[in-house]
């Protein structure tokens, strides 16, 4: 088993004249919670899409769980999970139907889906809600359910794109507990966020500015380096220099 979950070397993506991602390089260790920060338009989403196999890079190299982002996107997709702030569940399907559908899409066998959904429902305490439409669930539950569904095929890495946008502080806190839990099980977490307090929870963070990586270290070391007391200030110091991005 490889130690590095993600290896990125001079990865670049251009759209015409515009360079969205400019020769970024980094490595993510297995089981790490890797924070990916940056203002809107800094290139986070583009970088993440390339790593998920949704977008082919213009140049550079990258491998995700040992698979190449140019050639082996199929294999990458099989081994990663994905969740965005939009929760990505079907609101007009019931809890159990959503679980079955996403399990089915990943090619799990019926028996596996049954086992998975039973344990998932028990863990989330949704026993009485299985026949309810997802749209009728409170936001916090939807989010936890979406997170669990994103993990149903036992991926090695999970990509979380601003997973806690618009969620109350208590639910956010609980959500991070879930992230820690899976990280302890050895699943690598790749998370983008706008909340700097969340950045403090990460093992390491990168800060992207104008398509480049301006800083990459543990939150503690970054704060020491810039001689400030919070990640908020680190982010502000770096992002202020941006030309393209809007803060």
């Amino acid at each position: 088993m490889e130690e590095q979950a993600i290896k990125v070397e001079k990865l670049t993506k251009r759209f015409g004249d515009f360079t969205a991602v400019d020769e970024i390089s980094f490595e993510v260790t297995k089981g790490e919670i890797f924070g990916f920060l940056g203002a809107n338009g800094a290139g986070k989403t583009t970088a993440m899409r390339m790593l998920c196999g949704l977008s082919i890079p213009t140049s550079g190299n990258a491998s995700v769980v040992g698979f190449d982002v140019y050639e082996q996107t199929e294999n990458i997709k099989r081994n990663i999970g994905y969740m965005s702030q939009r929760f990505s569940l079907y609101e007009d399907l019931t809890v159990i139907e959503n679980i079955k559908f996403f399990g089915g899409i990943y090619g799990l066998r019926n028996k596996q889906i049954k086992e998975k959904s039973d344990s998932l429902i028990e863990r989330l305490g949704l026993q009485n809600e299985t026949k309810k439409l997802v749209g009728a669930l409170p936001l916090g539950w939807k989010q936890k359910l979406a997170f669990s569904v994103a993990l149903i095929h036992e991926p090695q890495i999970i990509f979380l794109d601003e997973p806690t946008g618009g969620v109350d502080p208590v639910t956010r806190r609980q959500f991070w507990e879930m992230i820690y839990e899976i990280s302890e099980k050895g699943i690598t977490v790749f998370v983008t966020t706008h909340y700097m307090d969340e950045a403090e929870y990460c093992s390491r963070v990168t800060i992207m500015v104008d398509g480049r990586i301006e800083a990459l270290d543990s939150p503690r070391k970054l704060k020491e380096r810039f001689n400030v007391s919070s990640m908020d200030e680190v982010f502000y110091l770096l992002a202020r220099g941006a030309k393209k991005a809007v803060i």
């Binding site: 994905y82 939009r86 990505s88 079907y90 007009d92 139907e97 090619g107 990509f159």
Partner: protein, 368 residues
């Protein structure tokens, strides 16, 4: 394959759970058939007429009772003054008036020709025309009867024979039109909305990140709508045969085969719209403005394309529904076979192919 079936099952769940979608899917064809069939018919029934009978003799009475007996006319009143007619027209009470001159019977008996004046309200030219035709037919009919009775050997008789549509049934024109309209609506609007909804909800991203192939996403979205549309075709045909009493003269199988082709054309159009539209509203607007209106105007079922200026005629050639309309009419009403519609079929195949290539290209570009 199992993934594919799971996906299709999910699509059906979306459709069956949304009352609005269901209503559009199954309520719309029924309503349209009934509205077009009974309310918006081109036939003019129960038109009110006033008869001004200066003659007041045997022949005029016979002719009046013939008009009264017709289901097309309600004789409002029989008067003796011309002024009365004008008044009734101005009040909008009547559609037509018939004036018998003095000596009507006498002229007919001795001169062998007599005149009747028909005045009709031409503010709606089509209705006016139709009424004139009906009245002339009744009068000619009476003439023929007279000739038989008095055995005058030579008289001109006109033989009117309506090819394909002897009873001048309006249903012949609009059933193919409604089919084109409903299929266009269901396929284009429903598919584009259902794909755009996934984009809006963020579920499309999840599907694309999964190992499920994008092309299969599209395919499994299209298949439920293909099946539902075929069901729609069946229900429209059943309604038209059993409620409107319009028989299918040609081959039912050919009709279904051609309908399947048209459905696929429409699905491709829906796909194209979905690659362009960002929100469900946008998709709906695109489908309404871009598809529904041209179908209504250019397919030829509301307005005869032959009467358009050449620019509009050229545009009408680009509307898939126009070709489908011709096909359905040919098969269903005229009862002709594939040899008479192969050109139209070819046009539809070409359109489908073009739309498919363009929309798949667009779809792929969006992904990159």
């Amino acid at each position: 394959m199992k993934q594919f079936l799971i996906f299709i099952k999910k699509e059906f769940a979306h459709v069956l759970r949304d009352r609005r979608t269901l209503l559009i899917l199954f309520g719309l064809p029924v309503v349209q058939i009934l509205v077009f069939g009974f309310a918006l018919s081109n036939e003019v029934k129960n038109s009110r007429v006033v008869i001004c009978d200066y003659a007041n003799d045997e022949s005029s009475h016979k002719l009046i009772s013939k008009i009264e007996a017709s289901q097309y006319f309600d004789v409002e009143k029989i008067t003796m003054t011309y002024n009365q007619i004008e008044k009734s027209f101005k009040e909008g009470k009547i559609k037509a008036a018939i004036v018998f001159p003095v000596n009507f019977d006498n002229d007919l008996q001795h001169l062998h020709k007599a005149q009747v004046q028909i005045i009709s309200d031409a503010s709606d030219p089509n209705t006016g025309n139709t009424i004139n035709n009906y009245l002339s037919t009744i009068i000619t009919d009476y003439q023929v009867q007279l000739i038989e009775n008095i055995k005058v050997p030579l008289r001109i008789s006109t033989e009117i024979r309506m090819l394909y549509n002897p009873q001048l049934k309006a249903a012949h024109n609009f059933v193919p039109g409604v089919m084109a309209l409903v299929l266009m609506l269901v396929c284009v609007m429903m598919t584009s909305i259902s794909i755009v909804r996934e984009k809006e909800m963020g579920t499309m991203e999840v599907l694309l990140v999964s190992p499920y192939r994008p092309i299969l996403v599209i395919l499994s979205k299209a298949i439920p709508y293909l099946l539902l549309s075929l069901l729609n075709v069946a229900s429209i045909l059943l309604l038209s045969v059993y409620v409107l009493e319009l028989p299918i003269i040609g081959s039912v199988w050919l009709l279904f085969l051609e309908s399947t082709l048209f459905i696929i054309t429409s699905l491709c159009l829906g796909l194209l719209i979905s690659t362009r539209a960002k929100t469900q509203q946008e998709a709906m607007l695109f489908s309404m403005m871009g598809m529904l209106l041209p179908t209504l105007i250019f397919s030829g079922f509301m307005f005869p394309v032959e009467n358009f200026p050449w620019v509009l005629r050229m545009i009408s050639n680009l509307v898939p529904a126009r070709w489908y309309y011709i096909i359905v009419k040919t098969v269903m009403v005229k009862g002709l076979g594939f040899s008479s519609i192969w050109k139209e079929t070819l046009v539809l195949v070409a359109m489908t192919f073009f739309l498919l290539v363009v929309s798949l290209k667009n779809f792929k570009k969006r992904l990159a």
